[in-house]
Structure formats: structure tokens, C-alpha cells
Symmetry: C2
């Protein structure tokens, strides 16, 4: 079991889907990553920031899940980062209705001393300068640095983003972001270009169409689990990153075949996330449920074909 350091937002989300809407509920990249990763045997910590409007019950929730929050700064007299969005009917597109940076605007991350030697650093979607700042704070180079980012940073902070990408081992982005980052339409070519920018491993998420793992000339594909209903896609990508990095921190094995498994575990956690609003479904999963769904992934993908 390894030390997993998670950097990212802890936020309030207000979500509208075709099936309902929420008031401000618990959200943020680091939140989903941490909750998903909590189903693996790791020593995990979150570095993030909230305002003093953030409920103590949510802090308690992280602690209950065994997540160290000594690096979760609470800023007095300030408000927590807030995002409000509305999904279209097909759930594949969404409009952002509000983004209030609040405490995030001046966030200076401080890595707790006990995690300066983390084995795995999971950089959730955030300003690349904050991600770089955390990398520079580490006392020794983590065995694996995983980056999640998005198109916003490609449009606004290109140079810093490239600097982060040079420093990391695994990048996790979606298909449109991979195309934008590389200028290539073909995802095979995009992954190759992106790998040349730094990371040994490129994971391209395609939402309901699964995820691809690229490493040198090898490719692995994990489908999303076909579900009768998808209720709320918010946090699915972060849950993927959490399952992925949680499994790798637990197993401390960064071979290609183990990264395949990490992609399956990431897809597995994401499949739960989308079944309810926000983090709801990730709060108390049972090991039995998780394993039953892993068995479904196996049934879904494994075949036994005889070569001639």
C-alpha cells in the first residue's frame, strides 16, 4: 500500500439533468478522486481549499473514508468554489451556468509534510501553475505522477500546461481534449504526439464509449459498462481517475498489464458514480458490489478465440 497524494478542487456543485436538479451539493475533482480511491488500500491525502461555508459534516466524511485532510485549507471569511451546470437531454453535453472561483482564486497549495514522499501524485483538473507548485514541493520524485486536465487550460495557460505535461508519467484526458492538445483527429496519432510531450502513458476517456490506454506501441481499451440509465455524469471522469490512481497506489506496480487493470478499476468506479447525483453513489459502496461489477466487465469484454 502506497501513499497517494491528490490535488484538485473541493467544491459545491449545483446540477441539473433531465431527471432532476440539486441545490449546492458536495463536488470537485479531488472529492470524486478521493472517494473513488478510498475503495483501495492506500494512505491517501487531499490538498485543496474551501471556504468557511464548507460544512463540517463534509470534512468528517473525508475523515470517515480514511482520507487525510491536513492539506485541505479552510479559509475564514471566504466562500468555497462553486460550479453550476445543466446537462442536455443526451447527457453528453452540458452548459456551465455559473463558475464562482472564490477561495480558488488565490489558492497556494501546501503539501503536508507526511506526504512529501508520496508514491503516487494524482493531479486533478486545476490551474497548471498550482499543479507545478505541488510537483516542486515534493521531497522525492513520486514513482508515478498522473495528470488530469481540460481544454480550459489549453486555451488559457498553454505554456504552463506544457510544462506540467513534461513532468508527468500518465495523462488522463478526454477525446476532444486529446485532439485539441495534439492537433490530430486520429486518437492513435494524438496519443503518440502527446506521449512525445512527456508522459509514458496516455489515457483517453471517451465517456460512454470507454477509455483507451496508450503506451509505446501498445493499446488497451476498456468499455464503459452499458447501463440502463445514466442519471448524472458529473464526476465520472474524476471517479475514473480515482479508481485508476487508487488501484495503482494500492498495488505499487506500474507495468502495462497493471495499468490495464487500473483502467478497468477506473471504469468500474465511474460506472457507479453516474447512477446518482454527485458523490451520492460513491459514499458507501460495498466490496461485493464492486467485485460483482468487475465480474461484469470481464463478461463484457473477455472472449476465447482460437487462432487458425
Amino acid at each position: 500500500m502506497g501513499k497517494l497524494l491528490i490535488v484538485g478542487t473541493v467544491a459545491f456543485d449545483a446540477i441539473e439533468t433531465p431527471f432532476g436538479k440539486t441545490d449546492k451539493i458536495l463536488g470537485g475533482a479531488a472529492t470524486f478522486i478521493g472517494l473513488a480511491a478510498s475503495y483501495f488500500k492506500t494512505d491517501a491525502a487531499i490538498v485543496s481549499v474551501v471556504g468557511d461555508d464548507f460544512p463540517a459534516a463534509y470534512l468528517e466524511l473525508f475523515r470517515d473514508k480514511g482520507i487525510d485532510i491536513s492539506g485541505l485549507e479552510v479559509v475564514g471569511g471566504a466562500k468555497t468554489f462553486f460550479w453550476k451546470g445543466r446537462y442536455h437531454n443526451d447527457l453528453n453535453r452540458r452548459d456551465t451556468l455559473a463558475t464562482e472561483l472564490n477561495v480558488l482564486a488565490d489558492f497556494k497549495p501546501v503539501v503536508p509534510r507526511a506526504y512529501l514522499d508520496a508514491d503516487l501524485l494524482m493531479l486533478g483538473n486545476l490551474h497548471p501553475e498550482i499543479q507545478l507548485d505541488v510537483i516542486r514541493q515534493m521531497e522525492k520524485r513520486p514513482k508515478l505522477i498522473v495528470l488530469d486536465t481540460m481544454n480550459y487550460w489549453m486555451n488559457h495557460t498553454w505554456d504552463s500546461l506544457l510544462e506540467v505535461i513534461r513532468e508527468i508519467d500518465v495523462i488522463v484526458i478526454n477525446d476532444e481534449e486529446a485532439r485539441q492538445l495534439s492537433g490530430q483527429y486520429s486518437l492513435v496519432k494524438a496519443a503518440s504526439m502527446i506521449s512525445a510531450m512527456g508522459p509514458d502513458y496516455v489515457v483517453i476517456k471517451k465517456g460512454e464509449n470507454g477509455a483507451l490506454l496508450f503506451h509505446e506501441d501498445r493499446i488497451f481499451f476498456a468499455p464503459a459498462l452499458p447501463l440502463e440509465d445514466i442519471f448524472d455524469p458529473t464526476g465520472a471522469g474524476d471517479s475514473f481517475a480515482g479508481g485508476f490512481s487508487g488501484y495503482l497506489a494500492e498495488t505499487e506496480n506500474i507495468s502495462f498489464s497493471n495499468l490495464k487493470n487500473a483502467v478497468i478499476h477506473g471504469s468500474n468506479l465511474a460506472s457507479f458514480c453516474v447512477e446518482r447525483f454527485g458523490t451520492e453513489r460513491l459514499l458507501d459502496l460495498k466490496e461485493l458490489e464492486i467485485n460483482a461489477r468487475l465480474a461484469q466487465f470481464r463478461e463484457l469484454t473477455q472472449f476465447d478465440i482460437e487462432m487458425k
Copy 2:
């Protein structure tokens, strides 16, 4: 090795992609299905129609591939079915620039006597009344009837289409067609609704996003092989149907696990088809190439995860 009877169009296609354009070249659903199926040990025949503008060299090509064309009617003084289309830059959408039914307008299929007891009947995309006509001609009920169809028939010949769907065992359609046919957005629900209309097996093709096989409460997924370049998607779906039905005719085993393999073989043949214009790539594949790519499918999808 079983008898495989293929019904569908034999046509001229004129294709424009972002990478080039063709004059009239060999095309049509039955053509792609037959060529893809020819890589399996079957006794295959095509039932279709062409005009006397159809080159003898193309007829010879079918014979060279071991495909019986005694049921391919050549109508004197008439022209072969012609389709012209142009693909958008992403290759996922296309505009039909011309459709000339010609000989297809009055086509009355006649199943050759030697194939009235075919083991597998593959109904390529065509007017449902023609598909029904062929089913009625069979002397004994084939062990498996596979149907490919498209949204055009849902819009224009709904009742006949439903009648065909009642008669068949496997339906092969794309995701948008499955949604239109069922009125369900979720593909899991769509497959369940469609299965209730008749077929025991529902295959939903998602183009570059792979294909799903549904049977009772079981689901199997095969990705499309990630390719550096897709040159021309024309015939990919039909090549899938050809690989699928060719493999099943060869193995004569219609268990779920063998249908999984058939989906992989279909995806494999489709991955070759899209590498060149029209049928070009399907004309002389080597067994080594086909097996090497099957190994790629295995590497792409197989993992070995330990349950806790």
C-alpha cells in the same frame, strides 16, 4: 462448414472522402458481406441483381473468391444500382449525392435450388419485402437468420420491416437505428425492446466506438480496432456482417460465447475494409494478416484482474 446465403445489393459506388474520390467502383451490401465472409470456410452464395453494365471482371472476382453467383441476376438493357456519397471531415457523417435504383426497382429475388436449405441466411440491407420473399422461399428454416437494415426502411416500410424482424434470430443495426426502432435512448433498453420484437440476439454497431452484442441479460462488447487513419468507412458495417456471418457459417455454433467470437471476427474484417477505398482491402487479405489483427484485438481487450 455450412451453407451461407447472402441477400443484398451489388452496386456501383462513387465515393468522396477528405482523402480522395473514386469513379464508379464495386460496392453494395452483398458484395462487402460476401468478400468478408469469403475468408471463412463456408459454401457461400449471393442473391442479388445487376444490369448488363456490370463488368464481367467483377463477376469473375466473386467466382475467384469461391462465391456462388447463380442467384445474381443480370438484367439485359438495364443499369446496375448506383450510389454516390461524400463523407464529412470526421468521416462519421456522409451526404448521399445520388441514388439510382435502376435494376433494384423491380428486383424479384430467386434463391438457387442448391441454397434453399442454407444453414445461415444473411439478409443485407434491402427492402424488407425482398427480405421476406427470400425467407419464404427457403425449403427449411435456416439455423440462423441474420438481418441488417437501416433507418430508411423504418421511415418508409415500417410494417414490413417489423414482419421481417419477427422472423429473424439476429439483428445488426447501428446505434441511431436502434434508438429509432425502439424509441429508447439507452442502448441497453433499446436492445431489450428490439429483442422483444423477435430476435434473440441484438448487435448494435457504434462505428469507431465498437459493437455491442445483447442476448437475454448478457452483454458483450467489441471495440473497433484503433487505427492511425481511416480512409473510407464505406462497407465497414457490411464487412462486419460478413465476418460475423461467415464465422458463424464456418463454425455452425450459435452459442453466446461463439457469437462473441463472431463479433470479434466482424470487427476484424471491418478494420481492414476502412483502410482503402471500397472493397480494395478485402480483395486479397492473407490469413497471416487476419490472425495478426485478431491477436491485436486480444491484446486490446484482454486483462487479468484478481478479485479480492
